[in-house]
């Protein structure tokens, strides 16, 4: 999709990070504005209406999670948060507080661009699209049909709902809680075991290998993501 003219606000206290983001996101056709702290970030967000915000959760002068909520109040723009490794709880909290996706520091630029693109593309409330195609997979929402390489795959009601939800947000992470609430209802929002079972079944039916997934990627400790850029590099080993 075309990125021309989309405005991205980068909020990060590290000048080196801002520099490389300015250069590389700029090279991808985005207009990049910067903020070095929370106050500046909020001010620029209000004044200049960015199309997307890249936000460092580890700002020294402000609680990143509170900042997510405050930006959310100012703007509908999607938020991609930058978070350090091994902080899954913060990632989940940020996502539940209104962030749309996350990237773990240190990160490669490809990964960030993939998240930005996915976040800019997704229109979850739109019903305009009822047929989604990802590679060999096609989902017909209206007719509740899934075909893989033109073969129809039989899915149960829940399996289909789960797959459809993931596909509608293709490229973006959905937390366990979001998935469970949407499909099983709020009273089951902590029953991660349901997801494990159903994703396992989906994978089997779609022939998706968890060690080299084509469709459903596991975001450890956070949720799941439907893969929309099969060429994108897998994240480097976080160990």
């Amino acid at each position: 999709m075309s990125a021309t003219g989309r405005r991205i606000l980068v909020v990060d206290d590290e000048p080196q990070i801002r520099k490389f983001l300015r250069i590389s996101l700029g090279a991808h056709g985005f207009e990049v504005i910067e903020a070095a702290n929370a106050a500046e970030g909020l001010a620029r967000c209000a004044r200049e209406s960015p199309d997307l915000v890249v936000l460092d959760l580890g700002l020294p002068d402000y609680d990143g999670l509170k900042l997510v909520a405050e930006i959310r109040q100012l703007s509908e723009a999607p938020i991609v948060v930058l978070s350090v490794r091994a902080n899954e709880r913060d990632k989940v909290t940020a996502l539940d507080a209104g962030a749309n996706d996350y990237v773990t520091k240190p990160f490669g630029i490809n990964e960030l661009v993939a998240r930005i693109r996915a976040a800019l593309r997704v229109q979850p409330t739109s019903t305009a699209h009822s047929v989604y195609t990802q590679g060999a997979l096609t989902l017909d929402i209206a007719r509740r049909r899934v075909t893989l390489n033109d073969t129809v795959i039989a899915l149960s009601k829940r399996e289909f709902e789960l797959l459809a939800l993931l596909v509608r947000h293709a490229g973006m992470v959905l937390t366990h809680r979001q998935l469970l609430r949407e499909i099983w209802g709020p009273e089951h929002e902590s029953d991660v075991q349901y997801l494990r079972v159903y994703v396992g079944q989906l994978r089997q039916k779609l022939g998706d290998d968890p060690s080299a997934p084509r469709f459903i990627a596991n975001e450890q400790g956070v949720g799941y993501r439907f893969i929309d850029e099969p060429g994108a590099d897998p994240p480097p080993a976080p160990h």
């Binding site: 490794r85 091994a86 899954e88 709880r89 240190p106 490669g108 039989a154 899915l155 149960s156 009601k157 829940r158 399996e159 366990h176 099983w184 029953d191 991660v192 075991q193 349901y194 494990r196 079972v197 994703v199 396992g200 994978r203 290998d209 968890p210 060690s211 080299a212 997934p213 596991n218 450890q220 400790g221 897998p234 994240p235 480097p236 080993a237 976080p238 160990h239």
Partner: protein, 509 residues
């Protein structure tokens, strides 16, 4: 009680004598009562014996000397017999009572001696100062029935230690403490009965051993409450006993203190070793990737357009790859620090092992390169209630290790099975050179590396220590076993069974 017994004995003798009345003459009947006096003297001591004598004498005169039921005795022979009885009875009673006393004394001495032998035996087994002071003070309390305290020399002055039940902390007054200090400094006995600090209710005996120079080293003071013994002989005996106890305490104390010092020295040495290894590791393992990054980066900067595309790509690859390596190392250090501080808190959730293994393999895809990992998961492996991030980390480390030690082309086998109780076993097997049984525990220590291993092996030496730390935090175990068919290495993770799981009911298609 004793006196009631005396009465009873006299009555019994009376009955017996009555029975024998017709058979024996009165003078012989007195022997029956003599037996009674003897019995009471041996059993109950002098006082009761005297009572028995008097009662018996009275009974004989009253019941058996004519006229009967009258204390008067008409018969001259009987009179002599009864009087002789009285004298003999008194003498015999006194001797018997005294014998009894000596027997009691001998028993008491034997008890005390056995306590002292017992103390010697118990002190050889004692491992700590508290145990030692408690053993000694209990012995003194039991042997002499006197409260005891042990005060030990500290770097500054004296330190209160344990007390037996008879004394509590803080019962020593300032004057008492001064007396104790005098015993410590001078190496002589102070307190009650010593001529110094006489007013104190305590007696202070210095606990000392001989040092190589010949000068006694006073390690502490044994404080015992003043003696309750009535005669000098008993007091002296108690004093000898206390000295025996004190001497044994000295030897044991010295032994325990030396053992303590040795242990502290060992711990110090161990932490020195770790610190040295850590510094060496950090210095080398941080600098090496940095050297590559700075080298490649500066080349890019300096040579700029002079480089062709592929050269530039290669250098950039180096920068990225080495930076990732640096990141891994920093993460290792952080993890190790968390483990050492017990700061690992698993964030458990229901996980599909297939997911976790898949993640681990994905993370390693670039590193694994040509190495194949063959995954075999038995159908019965249930969902695990565990921390997927920690488990992933462990699997990544172990698979990476297997790769490092595997000859290229040989597959790495990862298999998972479930036991009947729900415990899950994951094993990772390589076809490398294997680990000799003697090394199988040592490799889990921080900074250890395999002796004589292929020098191409990289790594910080922390990986396995971290794996074990994480697996332990998850409630499981990690051990090394021999590879199948006697070659290679097999790492075996065992995770505890997860709680019962409620799964969704059947869904409509």
């Amino acid at each position: 009680m004793a006196y009631a017994e005396a009465l009873l004995v006299v009555m019994t003798c009376g009955v017996v004598a009555e029975v024998l009345r017709g058979i024996l003459p009165t003078s012989s009947i007195t022997f029956v009562f003599l037996l009674g006096v003897l019995a009471v003297a041996v059993r109950r001591g002098l006082g009761a014996a005297l009572l028995t004598t008097v009662l018996s004498y009275g009974s004989i005169r009253f019941f058996f000397g004519a006229p009967y039921f009258d204390f008067g005795v008409s018969d001259r022979e009987t009179y002599i017999a009864v009087t002789v009885f009285l004298v003999v009875s008194l003498v015999v009673g006194t001797i018997a009572a005294r014998l009894r006393e000596q027997l009691e004394d001998a028993k008491e001495r034997a008890r005390r001696n056995s306590l002292v032998y017992d103390l010697s035996r118990r002190l050889t087994a004692v491992t700590g100062i508290d145990e030692l002071t408690r053993t000694v003070t209990e012995c003194v309390e039991e042997a002499c029935n006197r409260a005891a305290l042990i005060l030990l020399r500290t770097d500054a002055g004296l330190l209160h230690q344990s007390a037996s039940d008879g004394a509590r902390e803080g019962t020593l007054s300032t004057t008492d403490l001064a007396a104790a200090q005098a015993a410590l400094d001078g190496g002589t006995v102070t307190g009650a009965g010593s001529g110094r600090h006489e007013a104190s209710p305590w007696r202070f005996l210095p606990v000392a051993t001989a040092s190589p120079g010949g000068e006694p080293r006073v390690l502490g003071v044994l404080a015992v409450r003043r003696s309750q013994a009535r005669d000098a002989a008993k007091q002296e005996e108690e004093e000898r006993l206390l000295q025996a106890v004190r001497d044994q305490a000295a030897i044991a104390l010295e032994r325990v203190q030396l053992a303590d010092q040795r242990e502290r020295a060992r711990l110090l040495e161990e932490s020195e070793r770790l610190r040295t290894a850590l510094l060496a590791s950090v210095s080398h393992d941080l600098r090496t990737p940095l050297a590559s990054i700075i080298g490649a980066g500066s080349s890019l900067q300096a040579l700029g357009d002079a480089l062709d595309d592929s050269a530039r790509h290669e250098l950039l690859d180096t920068v990225l790859g080495e930076a990732e390596r640096l990141d891994r190392f920093v993460q290792n250090l952080l993890d190790m620090t968390r483990i050492e501080h017990g700061a690992i808190e698993p964030k458990r959730q229901w996980c599909d092992l297939r997911d976790t293994v898949g993640d681990a393999l994905r993370h390693l895809r670039r590193t694994l390169g040509a190495h194949r990992v063959v995954v075999e998961m038995s159908a019965g492996v249930p969902l695990l209630y565990t921390d997927p991030v920690l488990l992933d980390h462990v699997l990544v480390n172990l698979i990476d290790n297997a790769r490092k030690f595997s000859p290229s082309g040989a597959p790495i086998a990862l298999s998972a099975t479930a036991a009947r109780n729900g415990a899950v076993t994951i094993s990772i097997e390589d076809q490398g050179q294997g680990i000799p049984p003697a090394e199988r525990e040592r490799i889990f220590e921080m900074f250890s590396r395999l002796e004589g291993s292929d020098s191409k092996v990289t790594g910080t030496g922390l990986g396995l220590a971290i794996c074990r730390g994480f697996v332990n935090a998850l409630g499981g175990t990690l051990v090394v076993a021999e590879g199948g068919a006697g070659r290679g290495t097999r790492m075996v993770i065992t995770l505890p069974p997860s709680p019962l799981l409620e799964l969704p009911r059947g869904e409509e298609a």
